[in-house]
């Protein structure tokens, strides 16, 4: 094991639990897709921080069912939140993932 007891504890240097590493890897697999990255970027750079499925489909040039499929994957991992208002589905970045997504797309 690699640990030096004489060093000052640093919160960032806590060893990573296997389950945490798996969780992060799962999120990275969700993010490692060009369409989903474009969707996140469009949501992030929108004025209100919210974009409809239709707007995303138009901007990326895919059909709505394709975008809906990718949105489902992002929502399942908790990166994106979905809200239905009227006949529109709006997507926004989950507030606890905003920093991570913003840094990623820097």
């Amino acid at each position: 094991m690699h640990s030096s007891p004489d060093r000052q504890p640093d919160p960032g240097e806590q060893p990573l639990e296997r389950s945490d590493a798996e969780g992060i890897a799962r999120t990275l697999r969700v993010l490692a897709d060009p369409t989903r990255l474009q969707m996140l970027s469009l949501i992030l750079t929108s004025d209100s921080g919210e974009v409809t499925i239709g707007e995303l489909a138009d901007a990326i040039g895919f059909r709505q069912p394709t975008i809906t499929h990718h949105a489902g994957i992002l929502v399942d991992d908790g990166v994106v939140e979905r809200s239905v208002r009227g006949r529109q589905v709006w997507l926004s970045i989950a507030s606890d993932r905003l920093g991570a997504v913003r840094d990623l797309l820097r």
């Binding site: 890897a25 490692a32 060009p34 970027s41 469009l42 750079t45 993932r97 840094d103 990623l104 820097r106």
Partner: protein, 319 residues
């Protein structure tokens, strides 16, 4: 790439998204996550491969395989002596996802007051390029980097602020986010206390606003040698508010010219930069006559470099 400072960045295009997806795929696995996290925590300092093997539960083949995959996409960089380090881009873009940096910025009260002020100033200054979290992370990290080596801690927050400013500036130019119309020159020596300081002061004096000069040391001293200040003043060269600081990856990436003096091997090599090694003796512990000789030698080389860079040399351009 030109980046208008007042408008928000446009959304990523299909090509950019594909390339980012490829990079992320290389780390989308628990072993790769554990490895990259270790390197990001080391914030750009090289970690021995043996330590990476010790600290991550996986077979040696698996670890080597993940390291190679991340090297291929530029997330980590090989370092001399069987070591690897995180690329600056990886530190900036992935620290939060990897759980190294808090997703929500730490409350302002957690920083010492002097550092808090520094972070606020830099956040404003880099508002068009970096998020508040990134700036704060750099300020804290720079403070830690300097604190590890410091013998005198009185001015650390101020020095950390300057160091963080330089690193963020270098990172921005390395990523093409600022308009780099002026050449960037980096002088590196071992202690960053004498040779690199003489060279930087002379080039700033000659080039004024026409050149951007940075310095670093591979094993930085506690302070600039007092004799250096004296021999520069004799030559009519003002010594700017400088301090010895460690060599960072961003500084090298940002530089068009990297000039090493007595430390060529320790300097990371990137394509597209011009590397020059000046064989100049370290004046540490020498007599004033010898220090003057070193000074004149360096001033001569700097003058040729300024000519080569085509830098205008009006005396009024100096600060």
């Amino acid at each position: 790439m030109r980046h208008a400072p007042t408008t928000a960045a446009p959304p990523i295009d299909a090509v950019g998204a594909r390339s980012l997806a490829t990079r992320l795929a290389a780390v989308a696995d628990p072993v790769a996550v554990a490895l990259l996290r270790r390197l990001v925590i080391a914030s750009g300092r090289p970690v021995a491969d043996a330590d990476l093997h010790d600290g991550v539960e996986a077979s040696a083949e698996e670890i080597d395989d993940r390291i190679s995959a991340m090297v291929r996409v530029g997330l980590i960089l090989p370092s001399p002596g069987l070591r690897h380090r995180a690329a600056p881009d990886a530190i900036i873009t992935l620290a939060t996802v990897l759980g190294v940096a808090a997703d929500t910025p730490a409350p302002r009260d957690e920083l010492p007051p002097a550092l808090r002020r520094t972070a606020e100033l830099l956040t404003t200054r880099f508002a068009s390029i970096f998020s508040e979290e990134t700036v704060r992370r750099y300020v804290i990290e720079s403070y830690r980097l300097l604190a590890e080596r410091a013998t005198v801690t009185a001015h650390l927050p101020t020095l950390a602020g300057r160091f963080a400013t330089e690193r963020l500036g270098a990172l921005a130019s390395a990523q093409g986010l600022t308009l780099a119309t002026t050449p960037e020159v980096l002088f590196v020596c071992t202690r960053n206390a004498a040779r690199s300081q003489i060279a930087a002061a002379s080039l700033r004096h000659l080039g004024g606003a026409g050149v951007h000069v940075r310095t670093a040391g591979t094993t930085p001293a506690a302070r600039i040698d007092p004799l250096i200040e004296r021999v520069l003043t004799e030559a009519g060269i003002p010594l700017p508010a400088e301090f010895p600081k460690p060599l960072t990856d961003e500084a090298v990436r940002a530089a068009d010219f990297v000039i090493t003096m007595g430390c060529g091997d320790a300097c990371p090599v990137y394509p597209g930069r011009r590397y020059l090694d000046w064989p100049v003796d370290d004046p540490a512990g020498r007599t004033i006559e010898e220090v003057r000789r070193v000074r004149d030698q360096i001033i001569g080389r700097v003058a040729s470099l300024a000519d080569e860079l085509g830098i205008a040399r009006p005396a009024s351009a100096t600060r």
